[in-house]
Amino acid sequence: MGDLVNAAARWLLPVFLVGLPLYGYLRGVDVYGEFVDGAQEGFWTAIKTIPFMVAILTAMAVFRSSGALTALLNLAAPVARLLHLPSEVLPLVILRPLSGSASFAYTADLMRSFGPDSLLGRLGSAVQGSTDTTFFVLTVYFGSVGIKDARYAPAVGILGDVAGFIAACLLTTLLFSP
């Protein structure tokens, strides 16, 4: 099972690189032109992350280099041990539902510090990729149609995020632990 998932992941980009343009071409799409148009968006998406990256990487740099991070992680260590997780992923639980950009930058900081292919780098990536900015989505979606009473929707959203977080951590540990 794990090997299958890993093989599928390894083939994903090559398959997309061949499959999508070929499929598009057969359906009469101007594939090169559309690719370039879409790629244009990538530029601004990346540039727009700079302020968030600066805000979070700076704050994390201060917090880490001062020694405060080590102290806080030592405090959080019992919780982390209970969950069988490195304590460095725990801040994502707080950041993720609040701000996609902030948790994205925190994940970038994790990978920058420990390497994208480390277990921590993969844990952070999997959590970031499996959970959503629940509070933001609820506010925007309900706000757009003038709904003030969200009933049980926030509770459902949080439950889903917690489930996603736990599942992402379990699966990553299962797939990548030596």
Binding site: A9, L12, A46, A55, R64, S66, G67, L95, R122, S130
Partner: protein
């Protein structure tokens, strides 16, 4: 909340540095961090452009619509009270399909249109309808085949296997979707019993 977290990191960080005598280290590490933030974003431009370019081709080839058609039976089960051929279900299916492909930017307009259609079906008061709650449960736990942004970020940071986490993400989002939809059903039934 985010204000509190960010301020906490800065204030406690600088405070600790003052006590432990590491102020100079803090200054150099901040300069280094800002530089790396920009370098990271620059690297991110290339990988993000590649993925968004590919995904634009997929979108123009009608992949969102095809997926939407394939998911129609699921919508019938999720939203039994709605007309399966109506515009509300149509928009929700497009939103789910775009999320499945990791196309967050394409998903949001469909999602907002879906909310507007759901609002037409329940125009009175400021209370969320059952269908709206179910839609948000599905939306916030969205099953993702390709978490495009995180794959691009991993590639930008020099990962030897940027897509390594795709399988874990897919299975984890399936788990969260199952939990969300189940919770939605249970809480809806509980609300009915209370007569709310």
């Amino acid at each position: 909340m985010l204000n509190a977290v960010w301020l906490f990191l800065l204030v406690v960080g600088v405070g600790t540095a003052a006590v432990t005598g590491r102020i100079d280290v803090v200054t150099t590490s901040v300069t280094e961090a800002t530089k790396q933030a920009v370098e990271l974003a620059i690297g991110f431009i290339g990988t993000m452009s590649l993925w968004l370019g590919l995904m634009r081709v997929a979108e123009k080839a009608g992949l969102i619509e095809s997926l939407g058609r394939a998911l129609r039976p699921l919508a019938r089960w999720l939203f039994p009270s709605l007309d399966p051929a109506g515009p509300a279900v149509g928009m929700m299916l497009m939103n789910m399909s775009a999320n499945l492909l990791g196309l967050g930017n394409a998903a949001t307009p469909f999602g907002l249109k879906a909310m507007a259609e759901l609002r037409k079906l329940a125009p009175d008061g400021d209370r969320a309808s059952d269908a709206m709650c179910t839609f948000l449960a599905v939306n916030t736990s969205a099953i993702t085949l390709v978490p495009v942004t995180i794959v691009a970020l991993r590639a930008a940071l020099g990962s030897s296997q940027p897509t390594a986490i795709v399988g874990a993400c897919f299975l984890a989002t399936v788990c969260s979707a199952v939990v969300s939809v189940t919770a939605d059903r249970l809480l809806r039934a509980a609300a009915r019993r209370k007569g709310a």
